[in-house]
Amino acid sequence: MAKIIFNREIDKNIYYLKIAGNYQGLMGQFYMLRGWTTCHPVLGRPFSIFDLDEQAISFIYRVIGEGTQLLSRLRKDDEIELYGPYGRGFPQAKGKIALVGGGVGLAPLYLAARELRKQRSVEAIHTYLGFQENAILIDLFDKVSHRLAIDIGGYISKMVDVNSYDYVFACGPEEMMKAIVEQKKSERPHIFLSLEKRMGCGIGACLSCTCQTSSGNKLTCKEGPVFPGEEIYFE
């Protein structure tokens, strides 16, 4: 059980949740969150690490169904359970890097930007964020990016010249991620995408999150959620 520092609605149905504690985790990894003590809902909910330091870990989430609704009711000092860190996050990268987020898909990119900035071999971090109505967390992303581009109501993937980057990390709606991969024309850009799949355990036991990739069935929770863009079959 951990204590909530805040759980703030930062836009309609989008929450910024900060939990006290010295949690581990790398960019692109996730935790299973459980903000209730009852046997229903049965499953924890997976959320990417938005940020963490020695005092706290935080998440950005959108209210979708019952689980996130229950989460959204939590307040300062309420207790919550979280299990992780799970999965394989984004790889180390160098050169010019684009981070592309659609909606709450921005969640794993902030930690990515923060981690990448610490590395010498990284020349530039350009962050592209697309929103439906309102932009959120712009100030935070601005501080950690060399350049920040925002789009509201359009297609953020169109703003990114994928082939001009050494690495592209993307997370968001499937169409967005697909559009990014389809732009790839050269060897240069290494594209990595963070996928969402229904999960039972989060830790590689239940095989409910299997996704088909060009290198066979993979467990999204354990071998992902971040995969090389070219491995993924979009439906």
Binding site: H40, P41, I203, G204, A205, C206
Partner: protein, 302 residues
């Protein structure tokens, strides 16, 4: 680990009765607790040949339960023996019992898979007789006493490993099937597997699962599973592993009082990765508080 929790399952001694259930656990849980504390680990359902499992979504939440339709995705017996068994053997060396859950779509498949494991250092074969049987005309091995009896008889002939039959709650008459398995020389029974169930996505006007039906597990089913374990324990002498919605020590003790010797914890591992460890602690605390010296004292008292 305290002796208080030690149980005797036929000829096999478990350091405690708590077994991680098939398809719901993996050595990766080591991230959360010391797996050598477990009474046993049950492998995921293995088939002779690799299987890719089912398409479409594989898990769906229901009221205090989950439905799954993994479809026995597994790497096949050979690869499992090469890659995964060595990891389990390390736990075996620390006192954890290793149970191999075997499935098949024909009798031959079952037999060949069991044969392969019979050469390995595993503690128990758990025969999963609730998966589709092509031979029997689409029926399930575990649905009728006749089919169950035939299969157990054949498997019994070819292995001297302790043989536990995992029963399905969808059977015509679970007590009768249990008795048939006993008659055919099974060393124990485990029950229950998941309940055949359905969920519909009303917006899409489609079943949630490609296979239409899927298996229900978790806290929701516990009261029914407990009744079935109680019914079966009244009628057989071989030991029983109680399964179905066990989430805490109280649940576990209910199954013991209903007659179970060991317990398997499945869905609860998803609710909380420490579930097995906590359940072991809870049982121990209960015994201490109530001044009970061993689980024998309360087993099957109802």
């Amino acid at each position: 680990m305290n002796n208080m929790l030690q149980v005797q399952f036929g000829n096999i001694t478990f350091q405690n009765p708590v077994i991680a259930a098939s398809g719901t656990f993996s050595p990766d849980f080591e991230q959360h607790f010391d797996l050598s504390r477990l009474g046993g680990i049950c492998s995921k359902g293995l088939t002779l040949y690799p299987r890719a499992g089912n398409k479409g979504i594989r898990i769906w939440e229901t009221a205090s339960g989950i439905m799954n339709s993994v479809g026995l995705e597994n790497k096949g017996v050979d690869l499992f023996i090469q890659q995964d068994l060595p990891i389990l053997k390390k736990l075996k060396d620390k006192g954890v019992r290793i149970i191999i859950n075997v499935s098949g779509s024909t009798e031959e498949e079952y037999l060949r898979a069991v044969e392969l494991f019979s050469k390995e250092e595993v503690d128990i074969i758990e025969l999963n007789i609730s998966c589709p049987n092509i031979k029997g005309g689409g029926m399930l091995f575990g649905m009728t006493s006749y089919a169950a009896r035939e299969l157990v008889r054949q498997v019994r002939k070819i292995t001297s490993l302790p043989l536990v039959i995992k029963l399905t709650p969808n059977a015509d008459n679970i007590v009768k099937i249990a008795q048939c398995c006993e008659e055919e020389g099974a060393d124990g029974l485990s029950l229950v597997n998941t309940f055949n169930a359905m969920a519909i996505d009303v917006k899409k006007r489609k079943p949630a699962f490609n296979n239409v039906y899927a298996g229900l597990s978790g806290p929701a089913i516990k009261p029914i599973a407990l009744r079935m374990v109680h019914e079966v324990c009244q009628k057989v002498k071989i030991p029983v592993i109680g399964i179905g919605g066990i989430t805490n020590g109280r649940d576990a003790l209910e199954f013991v009082m209903a007659g179970a010797t060991c317990l398997q914890v499945g869905t609860a591992n998803f609710m909380n990765p420490f579930s097995c460890a906590r359940i072991i602690e809870d049982i121990e605390n209960f015994l201490r508080e109530e001044g009970i010296e061993s689980l024998e004292e309360i087993r099957g008292i109802l």
